[in-house]
Symmetry: D3
Subunit: 328 residues, 6 copies
């Protein structure tokens, strides 16, 4: 993949106009209020993961619509005090996998909470959470257009709400320090992270790698790769829904969440990424309202920094929580 | 695509063991009973399709779960007597399209009823019918694994039920002769046709082209092409669900519907079809219990006979209805 | 396919310089004169298409060089007065197919004439018309370079001439109203339509979808997709024929035919079309001399508006012929 | 490409039934008689190829239908006696190229005659010979189905006849020893060679590498690769022409030419060749009536032995002509 | 990928003849003796991996030829007693990555030693170990044919020797219990594991997932996928080296190492694996001389059981070490 | 491949800034001095190539590090005087092949010397020369990153040095006129040619077709095609080596060699070449310091002018040596 988006020097300054409906905040306030009408009902069931340094809990909590959402909680074995905690969101298609897939944060001494993505988890890694809502319109294969004609019906309304509830669920465990929660994710997980960072006050940080779910229109114009390409597929059939679709998407656009985020954020972006093109990432980052850094990977596609970015995140978390600890 | 399945001489005799649960009939009887608990509520709304030889109605009726299913009804303009009628089901991904997409049967003097496939209609041709049920398990992109862990939840339970209700809906129009209804479809449409032919008594015929939704296990073993490949994708992630998945699928297998069909049937098959491999088609055909013919297209892939098969169908319908008329 | 051509706002104003030889009109006048030296000898043979609402004729007439060209004529059964008529040209590779492939216009009450494309009809849909002329130079597989070194020998000289003669042939049927003939086609069919619209006076309209055969040089520079890519293939071998080839092509360029067309025209274009890039379509449209409209499909590739464009055409025809009828 | 055809041990014994019409020999006798009614009219025009060790002539002669066929003749500079000569035929798509493409035989001391393939020469290497005959039926892109409904019209009738006439043309040059002519080619060139070896008596040898144009039915059944795949494409559209097409092809099948060849032959075959599958090569070789050898390349696709096979040919020619010289 | 290899029932019994040179054992004895002439010189350098539950060491030791090989050692923080240890080998192309990539075994309470693969580590995951030996013959891109003409020069002679030395290096750390070392790897890592299991006595176990480097000839005959395909590429050029190449490979064939392994082994295989076809895995497993189990993943390609196989390994290790502990 | 690089008019003026280290010349002077410390030891062994017009010698000489490099020398049979000579370098992956692959120059009366490329020769054409140096860092498959972290270790340091020594080796044959040596090559061969033209004084000419190994950074930014893509692959893994890698490559960049070349040069470039993009070729050409011409092939990919460019070279050589001869 050669460079195909704007040059890096332009990207660093790229702050496109945002396309936001006036009731954006009202929409989300109403959405969360509705969701919180269902009791959270968090269950933490001890789980034998054949591990000894880490205690594992199979988690269930009520997300959007009161639907039960699966997750994992991993804590360093023998911990007695509330710990800094990472709440993880997952990339497109995948599910929560198995507990040993989530050892990095615990190995660094943090609790690690993983939220399953409803409906997904049958590609890449296994999940256990259905999305009982089929949607109010025909959909292209995948999840991008499930309910896309109306913000109230849109799939990511449910997912982002689950994401907010996941933070609330994590905070209920006695070994999770609710004042030191960082949300984190890559690709779709990064997109959810960005939304949650805007919707949940008081987070300690947000780690957002090659985020998806931002800048939908530009994305469909410069790449045809899935999952943004699902929107193109849908509109190539439902030719008269263009404005309606982009109106819906504006409620779920990372570029609109970004200016509402205030926690310290660590972004990463890959310059040859055809899945989440760099201009959509920089647009989010540049609009982000909190303290922020961005790691740029020049020769990478959507894999971004991979293990090196994990390393960046580990060191950023160490600094973050060290600072946090100092000032508590 | 070279020949990759059994040779034609073997296929003509190929009648594999069927894998059928003892409550197959009970399952379907219960399913239809439940569906019929919802009133059918057919609406035929005149529609301006800019056509003059054909009258067009935008149809809505209640399918599985009382969900509203869209459709079209086309009748030769000026018809006054009930007509032989073709009820059409649609290939995977597509929707009911626009009325002028369905002119063949009316041009031959028949009424033409088209059933939208719930949830689909965002690839190939547009549809207007959502599937409000999201399913009880994570799913691979597409529809093949939506609810696949339990026959009660499986997507095609809803679709096949819609298919049965579509015949009932069509029969309510004054210009449809309920005793001269032929069901018809290609690929997924052929699979629905085969199911409906087993579930609805008294049909005048069934026209089944390169049918999908039959012989799932063999299909996943000799082709990796979508949509059968969605099952493979799902099982490549949910490795422990193999038996459960194939058990569910057995309730929706054309090979199990075939011996329950009694109306005269016209099948077609393509010898180089990697999407619906010929052995899965012959397995259905050879088990079919009614009078039957099969057209074999030697050098075709999944397109099968295309316009030539349409021609075969037109002439078969003419004979069928002529015979039907003679003996009424 | 992301957007790869000029932005829409530029395209709407895009009127590139035309590359036209001084004897363009003389060339075509001579060509048609030569062709008309052969008697047209139209035959309309009734054909049993197993249809009842439409009468079908298998047509033969003499095109370029007196070669016999096949076609279909469909007229609403029982028509007694000359009808508005659509003369259809076919996309690259395909042939006239079977009569039931051409029901849209008759269902709207018009006569429908279909011209087979000589030599083609062995890909997509079947045809019955050979091109007995092999050409005066080696050719790349396909038809784009057959005779491409000399305008007199070029394949499309024969095809466009056939197209003109097809209008003349249609006009000979008693149920065709020669003053209400619309020419129509998509892709190659759109290219032929555009040429015929320039070469035949007195047409009632021209319906030109995602037209091919226009702007050859730019096309080869921004896409490598067939069939324009056949020219690239040829020139990648015959490296010294570049000027000669583009000189020949200039006699067959839609951009040169466009300013000679005067009938009302309905164009359509797809913004992500890599086969007939939007700039080549807009170049034609913007140079077109008659009253014109263009439908823009933003998220489509070469399929363009498909069934929705058919709908657009049906409604445009209704207006066109209504207006026509009012003023007769 | 893994092994996909029969195993080598079986191939060595593989002699399939031949499918031959009773008038095969009559057809070819008539064809050659008709062609010879046109005077051969060979022209050898000296050509400045910027070479010094080799003298080059641009050749023209009359092939089938009296059409002028281009070629090259290369002879070692300063030769005075008639030389052993290799008549070369070219692979599918390509043309005669430039003289320096044909230096191997001259460098070994032989004359080298190259026959352009009519119509081809716009892919791979440039040619200069048109095929003025367009054919009596629509055709799939490429040359395999040009005229394929009737042996009299079939493209390879003209090409094989040209091949015979090329030997006669070569023999007219004073530096060509008409009693020491070897025909040679690879792929399509090998197919032509095999035909010419059957049609021309008195050849000194035939060098046939990975020959094409043999065993058409089996070829279409085990590979979908071009050019055999063009036949599949054609039959996938013209579904009712299957028997007619294979009947025509039987007149042009290397398996039917093979038992008519008597000159010593050197074959080569590649075990992983998806273009000319090994069973079609062995079928020809095993039916070949003259003294024969075959080189088997175990890990190659259609490239076969490439430069190593050239080496085999050079050494086989040296032995052949040494033996020939000894016994003259 | 449909099923393409033998059916499972046959595979369970598949024990092909082994192709082994008489000096196989002597070759390896000599190889290891030569390698051990270089002092091992293990260095364990504490490394700040930003982790707290695990102590990390950057490792260097001398492998084949005394070349320095990189690695990681991870031990549960605060361990004081020698621990059961997993020595990990890496899949083709990849390198040792970063320490947090290797947390599974430590999280289960074991030490984890990771050996970098010389020369690799520039695809998939980063490595730090060069292979200073370029080889004694031209090579196809990749590592499969580096030195393939002579067992003494072959790349995997060095790698397998490094693998043996890695076990010896691990055993030198005070927290590694030399009597409880399990070797483990997937794909190429599984191939190295299988070799080391044969060459190192006294191992506690071997965990071998979808192993590569076994059954070379059959592999090249049923798949063309890299890396086995590199051998095909090489032999497609060096056509006269076939026997020599397979003779060399026989010294490095898992099927020949298998009967020399005695430690308990856990294999896994994927039935749709085109990279390491199931017959090559079963051939190894069925020849394996120690106690053994195999997990079969029916619908997977080369990813095999992935996280589920990790789970299988964790539980198998727990049983293994529990048993081991009981009998110590 | 559509046009994807700068337009031709810009390319003709394109002279990008060069990125050159101050010790560029010192590096190469030291490198050659070190290499010349090994005696050249040229061996010319007569070789039976089954040719008669050309005498063939199997060549061996000592290149970088004293490693033995293979080659061919072909001279017109019976030559007695020193001849103008072409020293040929080979494209990426290939080897020296067999002598009959190199007949063009001898057929024009010149001696032809061919240098095998160390390590390569297992793709495209066979080679016989290993590269015994494996490199000082992990490498991506292929040769582009072997030793890429240090100019002293880099693979092309050895290859370019071999190239210089090849000229010296050729000059030692009595039939080679050391004052009339032209270096020549295409793609990688063109890159080596460009380097040698800068490093060897007194050459008679340089023929450089679609040269590779120039403008590395831009190349990785506008194409992802191998072999430049190997650099991208490497940097996508070794994310922290970017500056180090491009620093190394600057010592091997054709754009830095070009201003040091003084012999008359014939370049060629293809405008649709995605392997060696035209801007990298023009950058070299435009910086070239000697008399120069460039042939531009407008519709070609990396094949460039192929046989037509051979023709250009033959005629350019004839002029060059004629002029040379006149002034001797």
């Amino acid at each position: 993949m050669p460079l195909f988006d704007k040059p890096l020097s332009e990207l660093r300054e790229y702050r496109p106009e945002r396309d936001e409906q006036p009731d954006f905040d009202a929409f989300w306030a109403r959405t969360l209020t509705e969701a919180r009408a269902f009791p959270l009902d968090v269950e933490f069931t001890p789980y034998d993961a054949a591990l000894t340094l880490v205690d594992v809990y199979d988690v269930r909590f009520s997300g959007w619509g009161g639907h039960r959402i699966a997750g994992w909680l991993l804590v360093p074995a023998g911990a007695t005090e509330p710990l800094p905690t990472v709440v993880n969101y997952i990339g497109y298609g995948g599910g929560r996998g198995l507990p040993h897939d989530w050892l990095t944060a615990p190995a660094a001494g943090y609790a690690s909470f993983v939220m399953d993505t409803r409906g997904q988890g049958s590609a890449g890694s296994p999940g256990d959470t259905p999305d009982p809502v089929g949607g109010s319109n025909p959909q292209a294969p995948g999840f991008m257009t499930r309910g896309v004609l109306d913000p109230d019906d849109y799939y990511y309304r449910r997912v982002f709400t689950d994401g907010v509830r996941a933070v609330e669920a994590a905070a209920q465990h006695r070994l999770v320090d609710a004042e030191r929660i960082v949300v984190a994710g890559s690709s779709q997980g990064g997109g959810i992270t960005q939304a949650v960072a805007a919707l949940v006050p008081g987070l300690a940080g947000a780690s957002i790698d090659v985020p998806f779910l931002a800048g939908y229109r530009r994305a469909t114009e410069i790449t045809d790769r899935a999952p943004y390409g699902e929107i193109t597929t849908y509109l190539s059939i439902h030719r008269h829904h263009e404005e309606q679709v982009f109106r819906t998407l504006s409620y779920f656009d990372g570029i609109n969440f970004a200016p509402r985020g205030t926690a310290p954020a660590l972004y990463s972006v890959a310059m040859m990424d055809p899945v989440c093109p760099p201009s959509t990432v920089f647009a989010s980052h540049n609009h982000y309202a909190g303290p922020k850094e961005i790691r740029v990977w020049n020769f990478n596609k959507h894999e971004g920094g991979e293990t090196f970015q994990v390393n960046e995140r580990l060191r950023w978390l160490r600094e973050l929580f060290k600072a946090g600890r100092d000032t508590r």
